[in-house]
Amino acid sequence: MSIITNATNNNLGNGFFYGTVLANSTQVNAMRNTPITYLSSPGTNEIIIIRKFGINLDFNSIAYSGGGTVILKNGTNVITGTIGVTNVTAGSSNCFGGGNAATATITGSIRNQAVLLTNNTASFAAGNSNVNFWCVYSIASFSLNSVTNSVNNIANNGFAKQTIIIPSASVQNLGSTPVSILSSLGAGKAIIPNFISFLMPFNTTPYNAVNLSLVYHGQSTALMTTGATTFMNASADAMINIVSPTFSNYDPANANGLGIDLTASGAAGSGDSPIKVILEYSIVDL
């Protein structure tokens, strides 16, 4: 299977990259059993986070049959929402961009993995159209050496990012002692979390299966939560993303000038792995 990576690793700025595979019908029909290397391995300690996954079907004359939902994988882990089979089997050109970042824990040998393009259920057949599978992605690193706690504020086209490492001693106490993820930006500013990734470079001992949540400093309403997942009690490297806040219609008076804290739903136990937090956020001027 030849691989077409005609736009891989295009740096879009603001920490985003664009990748695409323009697959011909032979490739589409075969990708169920022979996944296409969609994005190459990102490098030691790094992991690719798919932010959006979409399709442009350039319809020729014969529609695809069979097939299944199209997915992207890191090894055996599915790392994106699916593209519905009908987007590929359509009888006319169409666009679809609804594949969001996966929000389930992925764990295991997930560092430096290529992203694979494949589909569920059965092979596609019969079609003769080219299909452009595109994505927007970012890259995160499990490395603790290369990380400095950083703030990249809103000046860059409205995209702001905060990266912080929480040592295991602090992780163990998150249930009773929240950790500041992002300090206050001052009165009149509300921080709105957009996207967050938790990376756990596993050491030797898992934590208890507690949930992690973001809250405004001193408050209890969860803005984003990992939910009931296997992230904290994973026994290998693990990552989980949260795509959007759980709140809506939030009174900004409760966000005015407040920083963001990380807390846990209970005692995290005696795990010994640090947790790396990458928070992307908006700032609203109140």
């Binding site: 295009n10 080219n130 806040p245 009174d251």
Partner: protein, 151 residues
């Protein structure tokens, strides 16, 4: 009260690499804009150019409370003829809301041909209900989006 001169589109279209570029648009709606939304859509992002289409992926809205509106209805986004509906974020008066645009919406779903999406502006619309009335609050709409090309 005037309308268009109160709309502040902070970022302009451009600076994309020919394929896709995450950007953010900021538009501030004044009371007159809000009260006329049922009949007068507000352009959040202008038409991007031939063979390009707008793909919004995150909306953050902030209603700066002065006084609450009555009436009104749901809000939605419209990209050419492609429409998806959102919630009523105005009458509550004092809100920040944040919603993702995902695969459950009709936006960029099946049968959205390039002809429909090509070079279409993105509008904020009020598809139903009655006019918002009597309020004085403003609403800021932050739209995070990509510019995509058709193959």
């Amino acid at each position: 009260m005037t309308t268009n001169n109160k709309i502040n589109n902070v970022l302009t279209i451009g600076n994309y690499a020919g394929v896709c570029q995450p950007m953010r648009s900021v538009v501030i709606l004044q009371p007159t804009n809000i009260e006329n939304l049922l009949n007068t859509p507000i352009t959040l992002i202008p038409a991007p150019g031939n063979n390009l289409f707008i793909f919004p992926y995150l909306i953050v809205t902030y209603v700066k409370y002065v006084s609450a509106y009555g009436g009104g209805g749901p809000l939605g986004l419209q990209n050419g003829v492609v429409f998806f509906i959102g919630g009523n974020v105005i009458t509550n008066g004092l809100t920040v809301s944040n919603s993702t645009l995902n695969s459950t919406t009709s936006l960029l779903g099946n049968n959205n041909t390039y002809a429909k999406l090509n070079n279409q502006r993105l509008d904020l619309i009020q598809p139903s209900g009655g006019d918002f009335t009597g309020g004085a609050s403003t609403m800021t709409v932050y739209t995070y989006y990509y510019i995509m090309t058709a193959v």
